[in-house]
Symmetry: C2
Subunit: 481 residues, 2 copies
């Protein structure tokens, strides 16, 4: 590409935002928001620190507590009106010594496996286990094999994510269930361990972990994941020698539940301090990666909205609140604690009965408040497309009516749909929920793997996520839902 100025794109981006004269003030405000976000590097540096110094910050671990301290100190240094911790109890699972997986076969050769334990898995016995393997593509194949052919063996569920689906979340959704429930199904037929193909369309050598669940009705068996390339190899080795054995050794531990925290920071609203526009991402991440796209990006973007509002002296009518959630990956205990606190304040209902009871200095943890909206950023720090909206048809239409203001910044997607599991717990309280929707193509290259690192994040794509959410916060503050 030489010296082409893409006049088409340029004019489109400019004109789309300025057609209606009435929208002019909003256009200018949103242009200021994007300019600030695209010229300020604070969030990128915050992400560098979070991923570099607090990698592997799974809930319950010492590392996650250091990250909580970091987030608290960061918010306290920003000159906000309030910064506080919100307690929650979390599971504390640790991987222990790096896991070993080894193929043992005279015919197919001996091979070390690129493998990792799934989150929440029990360990193997201390010296490891060795057993024959059965490969299945799905539960139907498992059922056909039955207890006779599965009992005492390792079940290898090799179901590739479908790369032909445009949206990678759909491809992921089609296979993630094998990771979550595969061990239960395998144990039902008497398997002594379960190995799952990593839940990604990416063909690489990174095993992708993620939470798995047990059931009380069957044995708890060790559950692991092999990389997608390794899954292809393993399948070939099994074909070459159906009698091959696999040696597995893991030393995962489930420790007592730990006290942890959501980290919350606020700028108080000028007109409705008791009405909250909340936004956030989750601080915890899988222990094997840096948690850059999942979800360091969402955390630093959400925090950056407050920096940006201060920088632009953008005083909102409603209180704006960042929520840095704990424990999204395992059990969403932070989300539960947050929703419970919100419910309590909502039930108190003072804000409905008597606005006099609240004041600009009220502390949301002890004074009643309600949410105007809540936005979650937990789909990676990629170029934003827009928002999915979990609200009434009228709320969806209202947000869609702002489209021309946002199209100049590539935001074209404003559709009804799920928001995210952290803010999702506010749904029963009637809170309109939004999820930031970025381009999904690269997300599962990194997701839940050692490949999810700072260097995989592009600074502009990250900054645009901040700006998109800040613009949405501005519009909700200005026009309500």
């Amino acid at each position: 590409m030489k010296n082409i100025l893409l006049i088409s794109v340029f004019c489109f981006l400019i004109s789309a935002g300025t057609t209606a004269k009435a929208q002019n003030a909003d256009s200018i405000a949103i242009k200021r928001i994007f300019t600030d976000a695209l010229t300020d590097t604070t969030s990128y540096h915050n992400l560098r620190t979070l991923t570099g110094s607090y990698a592997g910050r799974l809930a319950g671990t010492a590392q996650s507590m250091k990250a909580v301290k970091w987030a608290e100190q960061l918010l306290k240094g920003m000159g906000l009106d309030t910064v506080y911790l919100q307690e929650c109890k979390v599971r504390h699972w640790e991987r222990g010594t790096k896991e070993t997986g080894r193929v043992i076969s005279a015919k197919a050769g001996n091979h070390e496996l690129v493998i990792c334990a799934l989150g929440g898995s029990v360990p193997t016995v201390a010296n490891g286990l060795t057993a024959n393997v059965v490969e299945v593509k799905d539960y139907d194949e498992l059922k056909k094999l039955g207890k006779e052919k599965v009992s005492g063996k390792i079940v290898f569920i090799n179901h590739p994510a479908d790369p032909s689906l445009y949206n990678t979340f759909a491809a992921y959704g089609g296979v993630a269930g094998y990771r979550v429930r595969g061990a239960v199904q395998a144990a039902y037929y008497g398997a002594i361990a379960m190995i799952d193909r990593s839940a990604t369309t990416s063909l690489d050598n990174f095993p992708h972990t993620g939470v798995m669940h047990y059931a009380d009705t069957v044995n708890k068996i060790p559950a692991l994941s092999v990389s997608t390339l390794e899954a292809d190899e393993l399948s070939k080795w099994i074909k070459a020698d159906p009698e091959l054995k696999i040696f597995l050794k893991t030393s995962c531990t489930e420790l007592p539940e730990a006290v942890s925290y959501n980290v919350i920071g606020e700028l108080r609203g000028t007109e409705h301090p008791d009405e909250i526009i909340a936004f956030g991402g989750h601080l915890d991440c899988w222990d094997i990666g840096q948690g850059a796209h999942d979800d360091g990006a969402g955390v630093v973007q959400s925090i950056d909205i407050l920096r940006l509002c201060k920088s632009l002296n953008l005083k909102t009518k409603h209180t704006i609140r960042v929520v840095v959630f704990m424990d999204e990956e395992m059990e969403q205990r932070g989300a539960k604690a947050y929703a419970e606190a919100s419910k309590k304040m909502l039930d108190a209902g003072y804000w409905m009965l008597d606005k006099q009871n609240t004041s600009g200095t009220a502390h949301p943890l002890t004074q009643p408040y309600r949410h105007v909206a809540a936005i979650e950023a937990d789909r990676g720090g990629f170029t934003p497309w827009g928002f999915s909206i979990d609200g009434t048809d009228n709320q969806v239409k209202k947000i869609q009516s702002w489209k021309n203001l946002l199209l100049p910044y590539g935001l074209f997607f404003f559709e009804k749909g799920g928001s995210g599991v952290d803010v999702g717990k506010l749904k029963e309280q009637g809170v309109p929920l939004l999820g930031l929707v970025p381009d999904s193509q690269r997300y599962f290259d990194y997701h839940h793997s050692a490949n999810d690192t700072f260097k995989a994040v592009n600074i502009r794509e990250l900054q645009l996520g901040t700006a998109s959410m800040a613009a949405m916060v501005y519009l909700i503050d200005e026009y309500g839902l």
Copy 2:
């Protein structure tokens, strides 16, 4: 992000394509196109070979001729109806020994500069030159300094690309002129060399090269580019010591013009073999990089459209033609040769007078033909947004009427605008032109630098570009323009 299936995105993507019953056959065809592209890795492997074995393939060089052979052989192995070379004469500029730049200052220290010669630059004298430096932000500042303060010095034009612009092509367009014309302006005031700040918003240590032009009216002076981070440093050093000197040594050579080629491959149309839908990218790239995004991606995507059509047994009514252009970066001599050949065939006009004269076996280089449309892919192998359209209002409207068929694949942008400099030369022949428009955020991180490598290309984003163009070719073939 845990186990969320983005139902919103998913439903949006599905429903947008299937609303009109009449569009059902097209929806199915386009779904087949995307499925094939997203599940076939040929183009990715082709890109690996092109960038790995034929890096730095600037027009005129031996490397570019090897790349021509590679492209020809690749097309010949695909079972196409026709593969041929189209001759063009190209400039042959070579960088020579890697350039040296050094700051010499007792006050600010001595520093090696991260620097490269611009494409087409004359060399310094054999032993290099040493001179004082004046830094300017633009031509106004240069004019104010005047001949007295500039004469005998090196002009350093330090104009940062504006990161606040959403579209990075606009940011690039705002500064690329300094690279192209800076040496002429500096020489006018008596400068003996020009150093330009790399034309990118990215703050990195890669100098970005690109073509520069001279004028007959002023001296031809060496023109170089420093990385953006180095430009910031150099500016500080100059402030610390306005009398600092810079040593520059380059050994660029302008060799005699060379014979080179466009590489063309076709699948003959079943109904209108003499009417062509053309698409392409350019094979040449800057000598300091692998030319992965610029424009290896466009080349392999365009070639892959033909593979895809054969794979799906998708027989088009019109002839579909890939044009692998030579010499986009310097003078677009390939584009000129292609347009001239097209003009000749168009002027012959047999296809208008007597359709009998053409047949399915006609060879387009010797038999009359006309273009139905031409599409260029030269903006990087990133997630596609849609197309810019250089055509009549009715043609734009017609393409926009297909939007609902393409929105399921994230294609939302169909606006009037420039296409690309290679197909652009067909404009005066009245050919409707299109340019593939991908997400622009990362492009200038790589553009014209050693950072433009294979590993910077994501396989899915690359595949989606192929599919988007193939879908557009399908619709143009089906409904015309």
